[in-house]
Symmetry: D2
Amino acid sequence: MIDSIIAEGDIVILSLEPRRTYMVKVEAGKTFHTHKGYVKLDELVGKDFGSTFQSSLGAMFTALRPTLSDYIMKSSRNTQITYPKDAALIVMFSSIGPGSRVVESGTGTGALTTALAHYVKPNGKVYTYELREEFQKNAEKNLKRSNLLDFVELKSGDVTMGIEEREVDAVVLDLATPWLVIPHAYEALKPSGTLVSFSPTIDQVVKATEALRENDFILIDTIECIMRAMQVERGKTRPQTLMTGHTGYITYARKALKPIKKEKEAASAKEDVPPIV
Amino acid sequence: MIDSIIAEGDIVILSLEPRRTYMVKVEAGKTFHTHKGYVKLDELVGKDFGSTFQSSLGAMFTALRPTLSDYIMKSSRNTQITYPKDAALIVMFSSIGPGSRVVESGTGTGALTTALAHYVKPNGKVYTYELREEFQKNAEKNLKRSNLLDFVELKSGDVTMGIEEREVDAVVLDLATPWLVIPHAYEALKPSGTLVSFSPTIDQVVKATEALRENDFILIDTIECIMRAMQVERGKTRPQTLMTGHTGYITYARKALKPIKKEKEAASAKEDVPPIV
Amino acid sequence: MIDSIIAEGDIVILSLEPRRTYMVKVEAGKTFHTHKGYVKLDELVGKDFGSTFQSSLGAMFTALRPTLSDYIMKSSRNTQITYPKDAALIVMFSSIGPGSRVVESGTGTGALTTALAHYVKPNGKVYTYELREEFQKNAEKNLKRSNLLDFVELKSGDVTMGIEEREVDAVVLDLATPWLVIPHAYEALKPSGTLVSFSPTIDQVVKATEALRENDFILIDTIECIMRAMQVERGKTRPQTLMTGHTGYITYARKALKPIKKEKEAASAKEDVPPIV
Amino acid sequence: MIDSIIAEGDIVILSLEPRRTYMVKVEAGKTFHTHKGYVKLDELVGKDFGSTFQSSLGAMFTALRPTLSDYIMKSSRNTQITYPKDAALIVMFSSIGPGSRVVESGTGTGALTTALAHYVKPNGKVYTYELREEFQKNAEKNLKRSNLLDFVELKSGDVTMGIEEREVDAVVLDLATPWLVIPHAYEALKPSGTLVSFSPTIDQVVKATEALRENDFILIDTIECIMRAMQVERGKTRPQTLMTGHTGYITYARKALKPIKKEKEAASAKEDVPPIV
């Protein structure tokens, strides 16, 4: 199979066990340097993905095709990225998939944009807004590298002033003031469409939730995913000592058509309903 | 837009705030009964998704298009389902997307199959193996309801004896003895392909990890996602009292080509590498 | 040893494996009824703690001396109790021990009072304030049952108006508006004394923290303990499916003498210091 | 009050906001150096605990009396310490208190010994076993510094060969092979006494649990406390980014008298009982 052979220009993950990975572009005449010696990238061309190469110091590197998670983690960064675990849940709770039209803001590093674009292809589109030009340029570079730029429209407007798109399937917010965008998100969304907002602080969650309630969104929920890694070794298995304790909260909701006549239900009533799983 | 109108035969989520939802098929002459009164399903036809309807007892139900998460949670069940949070991470770490060819085993309720099929369409395929005929039939029903059956091939072989497919992008395991399938998964996968295994117990994780190490998989990691919901109300915000403490561990890995000459690195060396995020 | 023999009047835990426990008072002529049959309490008298008795339906009950945790969990309740995990951390971060003089408010069920009294005996004292008389009476009953009433002074004043004690070692707050009590707690505490506040909501934590900062408390931190139980069985070990996701946050601090000239340090500076463990 | 004045020879915590602390012994003529300048320790003598001092570089240090948690965290270490959160839960689940007689093994740094001794004083005793002489000496130093040595008997025997004490209230295990000690712990304990074992790995938990079941212990449970710190700042409140993901599991149980005729109850039956809180 032709696409299982490494070609010049390919983006490749060089893996050094256990768990160290480097993302490189295969270019003629180049060498890639690590603390375990260098690898001549010419040697990779024509070999199978999955092959193992020896560095100048004898370390064994395996050349892998990058996964979506690799593209996210290896994003060129000028700000915080959205981690794969959060990107995964944002994608799930936005219910996007192939063909979806999605508005995102802000673009940031483009890490989340990469995830969204990965799933809406081949016939969907991500409209992503970013105010800072240098962020946009960096995101464009990341998207080009992951070969997903065709499924993304990079826009430079200010979403707190309005969203141009209409009848989109989902709006994904990852910016400091989601509550200012929620009225515009309502206008942009199809009825029954989904909104997902990602925020590190509780105060952002409270304000976003209030804006969602005021703007005829329903089924509003907030979750966080505490991801813990395991060290697996027979007789010594245990959770890893250090972990990321918090990245952010994910708030999601559905657009209902106005007017909704809501029944008054106390917040405490929430305790009566089944827990979110 | 034609597809934003509810038609006879549509699958609809009826939402009753806060957070109670029912999945119904819109059929002429039928009524849907809840503890808050009944809704005549005829009334929904021709209305917009997102519209709100009054039940016989005055409760307001909003009719929504089902999300992927709704289809998963409302699966007809004859065994445990894979929850959306886990399905999301399995999809992320398998790196599948539109066009991917994926082997899954076992089919179970088809909840995870639904997620996989949702993301591989329009031109990918999920080959899903299940030994128990009644499970397969139930999964077929769930997949038909979510309109994803075209992207799935339901198979009844025993994957511990072998996998028929070759050059697949990913193998997803959710069965009692993943370690017995891992050698076959190696054969089925493209070089550099991904394997993801979901298991509730630590013993399964240890055995699967050992089998992965013995079968030339690399970048083997295990994580769990502890999902916690928030009760959001200005002045009263707090994590929810009850939560699901555990569903399962997600182990993932990449196929390297044989032979890999591994450097011996103690398990303790793992502490040196950056934590998984 | 005389105190290892069950006597009339003793409080006993009847344990039915796995993990079902009942707290009973051994009274002549009484029987204790469960869904697994009844036990005649007379039979217990004169037997050793740790002995096993057969119920009328053949179930085996073991008679144990109650632990502190048993007394907490079996408190007669008219409001939420403080769970053992939180009581343990409150005791640790308040740094109390034998001989400590502690102010507590509110008394509530007396569950936390029980823990505090358990540790300050034989020569310390817990001064516990409660406004609602029925709560106080119930707490008194719980403390009498656990034989700790001698180490507690039940008080009925309103601590938001002031605390009578002076030079106490610790102030422990478990009430709706801790921030109103913090200035009085400052007056009551010895210099270098500890304050611990337990609150279910984040808003309470923020207000308490602000009040602590304004009232010359230092080393202010907030933590929560997410306790997860394991199901342990060779080959099937895993975290328990259901868990308590949240009980409350524990905020603790130390009293410094006025005036403290604080260096201005941005909240972001907190990231520089070692994480709390 | 005399004991609120800093005297020569006192152990003092010097606190530099936010959250940096140093433990020093006040000695005439000594200076204490930090990256924020030095403090002349002579200046502290005769001042109140809680007072604030300026360093040579103008940083403000507050002098506090050490808490139990300070003594634990500032232990002179030659091995891993038991963190305050775990020490707190071990103390709670062992149900020890003033007057208790406790066997501990191994002594290690003496951090957990410090916590145990703090709570059993003034008339209880901790018998702590350690094989490595240098550990024992270091622990002795830590216990002397925290003024708790009178309540501890440092022993050098091998507890896997036997425990000398009898009729103790609790046995606390923090060693690599708890299962080898459990039969001896049974002999040492009072009927109805408590055993608590702390272990980092799941395999240790499984083996300890099996040994407990075989040795007539009942009410056997295992929990872990995942402690998460909050960054509290109005408008920016959030869980801390980095956290300790795992320290260890706490297994606890009660001694029943032999023979117990156990009803056979499947592990799955555990699901029927209320979750541990």
